[in-house]
Symmetry: C2
Subunit: 348 residues, 2 copies
């Protein structure tokens, strides 16, 4: 059965071109995709004409309005009811599409997602999750910026959602989950993080909880899911990106620093290209707004068609794997254990 | 005039060997250093015999006790009164030494520093600061883990201290200071960080405050001082370290992946070695416990003699530059402006 995905054709730095080219690429890989495209028909239609296969698999719905990158989420909510972003989310709410993908303003997307779709049963706040490269398998990290202040209960819910995401979308049989902290000993770190650890240890769920990890454990692949608040997670993500760019830039300078280094680079190039491809941020593009009652994926605003296609394919995989349904199941088990501890004691 | 530095000879993973070899190296670079060594004389004396110049410039004071790496700070405080770490700090308090350097337990060092030395006039809480490599000049970041929860006033004080540190120790004429946040627009981010920005904007000090930076701005050298709370700062530092190691490891694998890559590496090696030297973490070793009423420098626990020497030389530079005295001056100006705003209005 086809999976219908609603696309915000006007979101992102290179919209609508990258959105249309990206959708076409995704369709090459998965012919079972269908698209609902929301955007300026005068700009989108000519692009679709270059992709007849995509055009045949898509329905274009015109709107003049779009959410600009710098618009405040509250303003986007009030004034963006006819925006391409909002209409894509509305299509998920109405059941016309199974997922929405946008490369637009993250804050506006989250705000609209919350208002239109609400959160999943048992989840108080959605979180932004993505997979990051590591020495072993990709690592899921959340929250990456949706929630600046998080209670221990929120962190607990993020852990449950991240675990299900790693299991369903990345196919990790038994994801190892940890909380990001400073110092791996239990005595250290922030009190909210320590309380979240207690909740995870006492949870009725079968989560392979490994306690705390520090920032330098993320790229080692020591655990599969790293849970933190949105402020710390956003800083960590940006620092990792910055450090990688810094390292790459310094290396590039070194390879250009003389004839001998240039020759060395030419010889090593195929091996270095393989590294570049493996770490290519486009391959990790697509952050899930996890915890919304509907699948919403945020593509990086500056990505290209290859990256956007990856975000679309992630959305399809999340739909197919029933990630949200499994999160609901887990949270029901948590709720049941809170409601019925006495009964279980009495029966034992 | 000689600068006397008290050394915790028993702190760190490779103590006392690295401490003694490191002190000897530092003395080679600066013959005006003198050392008070605290530690197990039976282990330290044989090491000193290998360094006659250092032995002549040092006084060894025996103690059996030391603070183990895993000791809780509160326990170290109560039971470590005769420890090598504590005696080194006591020597600063007593005026026998101008600075203390330890590669031991950071939490214990900070706790002892606070109890023995107290904080500088005008400073509520000390912070851990260090210089990090960037594309341009080194960047000062603080707090790196001393304070998990920080008020806007604490962040303001960290900014003042970091600015003075960059000016005096790194020799930046007019350091650009920023707060670490998520999103560079004023509307985003954590409320405490926004309030700290307001305090900095309204400050009577001549600080070149540049607002907010994000995690990926740190290694670009866009600003000279990055201010954050200890939880976020510690995570950011560890993430940057982890990302660099990840990148270096992946690259190493690539260079080993075949004959052609190996040959390329051999040709590029001198250029790559220059990069390695420039980014060598030992060159950035030595975190200042800024805000204590006395100079205390923490060396990385796992460093070698080269790294430890760098920490000792940093301590000497901080003493020489009068960093603490200048911080007091700045905080007095802040206090005066709070006490006397009416007078200034009346006079204008």
């Amino acid at each position: 059965m086809a999976i219908v995905i609603a696309l915000d054709a006007m979101g992102g730095d290179h919209a609508p071109g990258v959105v249309i080219d990206g959708a076409a690429r995704a369709l090459c890989e998965r012919s079972d995709l269908r698209f609902l495209l929301f955007g300026d028909a005068g700009r989108v239609r000519p692009l679709l004409e270059r992709h007849p296969v995509l055009a045949a698999a898509s329905e274009l719905r015109h709107t003049d309005a779009f959410v600009a990158a710098e618009t405040r989420p509250s303003l986007a909510l009030r004034q963006g009811r006819r925006s391409s972003m909002r209409l894509a989310i509305d299509a998920v709410k109405a059941g016309e599409a199974r997922a929405a993908v946008s490369a637009g303003n993250t804050g506006a997307l989250m705000a609209m997602g919350k208002v239109v779709l609400r959160t999943l049963e048992g989840i108080d706040r959605p979180a932004i999750a993505t997979a990051l490269p590591s020495r072993r398998e990709p690592v899921v990290m959340l929250d990456l910026g949706a929630n600046v202040d998080c209670s221990p209960q929120h962190l607990f819910q993020f852990a449950v959602m991240g675990e299900v995401y790693a299991r369903t979308v990345l196919g990790v049989a038994r994801p190892r989950v940890a909380l990001l902290n400073i110092g791996t000993e239990e005595i250290k770190g922030e009190s909210g993080v320590r309380e979240a650890a207690r909740l995870l240890r006492n949870s009725p769920l079968d989560i392979d909880f490994r306690g705390f990890v520090e920032g330098d454990d993320i790229p080692t692949g020591k655990v599969d899911v790293v849970v933190t608040d949105g402020f710390t997670g956003n800083v960590a993500l940006k620092v990792a990106e910055g450090a990688s760019r810094f390292y790459a830039g310094t290396l590039r300078d070194a390879f250009r620093s003389g004839l001998r280094a240039k020759l060395g680079y030419l010889l090593a190039r195929p091996a270095l290209e393989r590294v570049r491809r493996r770490l290519d941020p486009r391959r990790y593009n697509g952050a899930m707004l996890l915890g919304l009652s509907g699948v919403v994926v945020k593509s990086h605003g500056g990505t290209d068609a290859f990256g956007f296609a990856h975000a679309v394919l992630s959305a399809a995989r999340i739909v197919e794997q029933g990630t949200n349904e499994r999160i609901i199941e887990e949270m029901r088990r948590v709720a049941a254990s809170i409601a019925a501890p006495r009964l279980r004691v009495a029966a034992s």
